[in-house]
Symmetry: C2
Subunit: 200 residues, 2 copies
């Protein structure tokens, strides 16, 4: 199981790395989570440089892909040299987008007529791409999920865990990262956000 | 205003980088937030390598310091070559510790008889250092604050913003990172956590 977190130049640290931290709560030999970048190093919107753990082409063979967010997403979707490296396929992959990552899914034609979540800044650009934007932190249909607001990224990670390892594993991962003294309430709210979108 | 986020080998991505993201919501020319490391590069508990933006010695001159968390904190507090590089002074600095960072504050003698927050794993080690551990996500007394649970890191960042830029700036930073559709409730809860510990 390889989960690639697409992380471009100008990325939002919270969107990529909160999801990464939550996903790493699954401790199984075949469970791999990677920061998946266009180059060997990328620098965040706030100047933090990180090393790639996989490259964009590797996302094609991943079992799940999270499309991270950042301040350069409008430039990315206008750059065929980057977009052409992505070949995501929701018929065989779980695809999840965080904040402006939703704009990338929209431009790849992966949302179709399905509504989506994104952040308040990206909202008009996603609407311009013909997608209805919801006023909620998480939505999924089939194998495609979207989330809006940096701290909704645990919901995306939990959805991937729930879909692959089950809801108890998802709840346990969220419990670990939740604030002390708020863990039960946090997990109940988060699982309430994703449960309606899990297969029966 | 320089805020140094102490980030050691084996660091927890959420603890260092969520705080960094929230603190960067303040857009002022003299506002600087840095990942402050023992070496030019450090690698997280989940294998993510980041570049330092300042070195441990620079924390002495910072206006505020967040002591991040990680899986090697017990080794760090047992390494004089690292601990001796820290010269934190709550009489002239805001000092905030996240999860196992609380153990570093305890060993530096900065907590005294004051109770503290930490994560559930670190709790027995902090108690062993003679510090009472609270079952809540955030506590502060004077210029020293502690938080427990990865996702309590926005509370530490908001406390630093509230202490330096005011409560409205803190609430605005939290509002930006909160999940869409949960922003008001998130900000109300978070500000309720830190407000009792702000100067009148």
């Amino acid at each position: 199981m390889h989960i690639a977190i697409l992380t471009f130049q100008g990325f939002n640290e919270l969107d990529s790395l909160v999801a990464l931290g939550v996903l790493h709560r699954i401790k199984k030999p075949d469970w791999r989570v990677s920061l998946c970048c266009p180059e060997p190093q990328v620098t965040s919107m706030n100047g933090v440089t990180v090393h790639a753990q996989s490259l964009l082409e590797d996302a094609r063979d991943a079992d799940a892909v999270i499309v991270g967010s950042g301040i350069l997403t409008r430039e990315i979707v206008a750059t065929p040299a980057l977009m052409d490296r992505l070949a995501l396929d929701p018929s065989r992959q779980l695809i999840a987008a965080q904040c402006s990552g939703t704009l990338i899914l929209a431009r790849l034609g992966l949302l179709g007529q399905v509504p989506a979540c994104t952040d308040l800044t990206t909202k008009p650009w996603v609407q311009e791409a013909g997608v209805e934007v919801l006023n909620q932190p998480f939505f999924a249909q089939g194998n495609v999920a979207t989330a809006g607001g940096c701290l909704a990224s645990p919901y995306l990670a939990a959805w991937i865990i729930a879909r692959t390892e089950g809801v108890e594993a998802a709840a346990a991962a969220l419990h670990y990262v939740a604030p002390v003294g708020e863990k039960e309430a946090y997990v109940a709210n988060a699982m309430g956000r994703i449960s309606p979108y899990l297969p029966a």
